[in-house]
Amino acid sequence: MLKPGGTAKGTIGNPKDQDWYRLDSMADGVVTAKLGGIKDVDFVISFFDKDRRELKRVDETTVGGDEQLLDLGVAGAYYLVVSNKNEKANNPTQVYELVTKLDASAGREREPNDTALTAQAVEAGGLAKGHYWPAKQLLSEDPEVAEEDWYSIEVSKTGLFLLNIDVSEVPKVDAILEVYDTNGYKLKELDAGGIGEGESLRSFGVRGPGKFQLRLRSKYKTTGNPDVTYDLLTELLPYQGATEFEPNDQRTDATPLELDSISGTIAPAGDQDWYKVTIASETRSLLRGELSGLSGMDLTLSLRDSLGNEISFIDNMGKEQPEILTGWGLTGGEHFLVVTEKSGKKVDSRQSYTLARKLITFQPGLEWEPNNSSATVQSLKFGESVDGYFAPKGDEDWYEFNLYQNGVVVLELTGVINAAPSLTLFDQEFKELASSAAPKPGDPVSLERELDRGTYVVRLKPADPAQNNVRDKYSLRVRAK
């Protein structure tokens, strides 16, 4: 009989000696059992329930080594069994000490929780402290299998929620955190941190009511840490549309972007965040997207059609700088904005980017992207002007106008910082008639030509494809002299 919190002393009289200690605990608690090593003996400690079913076994050291069983959940009668593995052990007189400690169970891991079936229920918003220990699961079919700790979280309310999970760092351990649904399908695997680093899952979308399971383990089979606990912190927040709803890594899981802006994180490495922009009416609209910069990262923004095909890729700026999609023309239906980190290797779940979207009703006089080629040329009424952007990088803008009377026509393009555009005039058969270029970035450019009545096309193009400006618009005017 061993009182929880008490110490037992004993000897290993022969190599096959087994010492059974009954442990009775009236209340819920967590027991730690530490066994000091003695000469010649290779200790194994086991933990049995009242029906003498083995729940946990530990054998992490060899002859003479200490052993410890940690985080044993108790409420009632159990057994601790001390045995020896060294057949040649011959030390019947030296006394070993089995020291136990009983702690309150609140906020603690409760072994055994090594499988999905034995997952420990944790409250969302609560903390669980546990150990990556022992390193191996000796009771599994394959005794070389690494230790796993399973937790379950129940979402009782109906609706959409965001689950945030933080696992603190533990020296020597490279943690992996996985999320499973009730059917056992893995929803997410997180392995962003390295050895001695934590893991963090942000804005993981869950639908309630439902039950989700977390699997926490050390990446390397032989690595554990009995001295330092991990802290598993969970948080469940009602989803209000202001943050991404992970998983949103593909078109079918895209987070609806219904508010003016939304925040998200790049985690794990290679994360793609899809956002759905729905335009209900058939009104012609211009979509503007603004993506904030993130420390240490070069983010890119991509616009996709309803089938997920890329129609515009925005990578104007470098590391830590914002990206802007300027005025893309849309007429009803679903479109997608996709945020990625350029290298696919960077990750940081602790800092969030902001993606803002603006839908502006199209009016004559505004550029309508795409107008990058003769096939998508934008019509412009003679005598009027159009305002547009040289963006993204490599942009060129095509406009077409009809001249109903012969005359001298003047084309005027205002200057834009960081762009030295050329202005080229084609006839309706796309024969080049005239061209003029700005001498340097920021300078205006104009062209004058006597023309017969007909359809004419103007191409605007910065001298260098890298020249772009998402802030300042150019203005192109076509008029009679």
Binding site: E282, T331, T376, S379, E400, N402, Q428, D452, T455
Partner: protein, 155 residues
């Protein structure tokens, strides 16, 4: 209301088909649409529409305006049917505008909204050639124009 009907029809054409069981069957080959014949045509308008499913395959035709006046029209046919109109236009550079119409399930002939109409453009009509102006609609109902020219067929 009419615009709404067109939008709904085009949306159905563009978005149809997520459910396997409801995937549209391939449309049967369209029956030939008779071409309005003129003697020695020098201009041909061709209208081609992409149709996603049978429900969106309603009836359309296109009017041809030259220098602001109606100069002809295509025959009436299903959207999936390619429609032609051959005309003899005055020699010279002519402003040509195509105007697309549809017949809703209930109601009368309705002109496509402005956002779904092609822009007016000049077409040079020359002796001995046929100018072909092709109006294409993608499944979302967006129009695009292309112009080509071929020698006139020998008599």
């Amino acid at each position: 209301m009419r615009r709404l009907a067109l939008s709904a029809a085009l949306l159905a054409a563009a978005c149809a088909g997520p459910k396997q069981a409801e995937l549209p069957q391939p449309l049967p080959p369209p029956s030939p649409v008779s071409v309005l014949e003129v003697k020695d045509p020098n201009f041909e308008a061709i209208v081609v529409e992409s149709v996603g499913n049978e429900e969106a395959d309603f009836v359309t035709f296109t009017k041809i305006f030259v220098d602001g006046k109606e100069a002809g029209k295509t025959v009436v046919g299903l959207r999936s049917q390619e429609k032609h109109a051959r005309l003899k236009l005055p020699i010279g550079n002519q402003p040509v505008r195509l105007e697309h119409w549809f017949l809703p399930a209930v109601g009368e002939w309705t002109v496509f909204p402005e956002t779904h109409q092609p822009r007016e453009r000049f077409v040079r009509i020359e002796e001995g050639t046929i100018a072909r102006l092709i109006l294409r609609y993608d499944p979302a109902g967006r129009p695009s124009l292309t112009l080509s020219r071929e020698p006139e067929a020998p008599h």
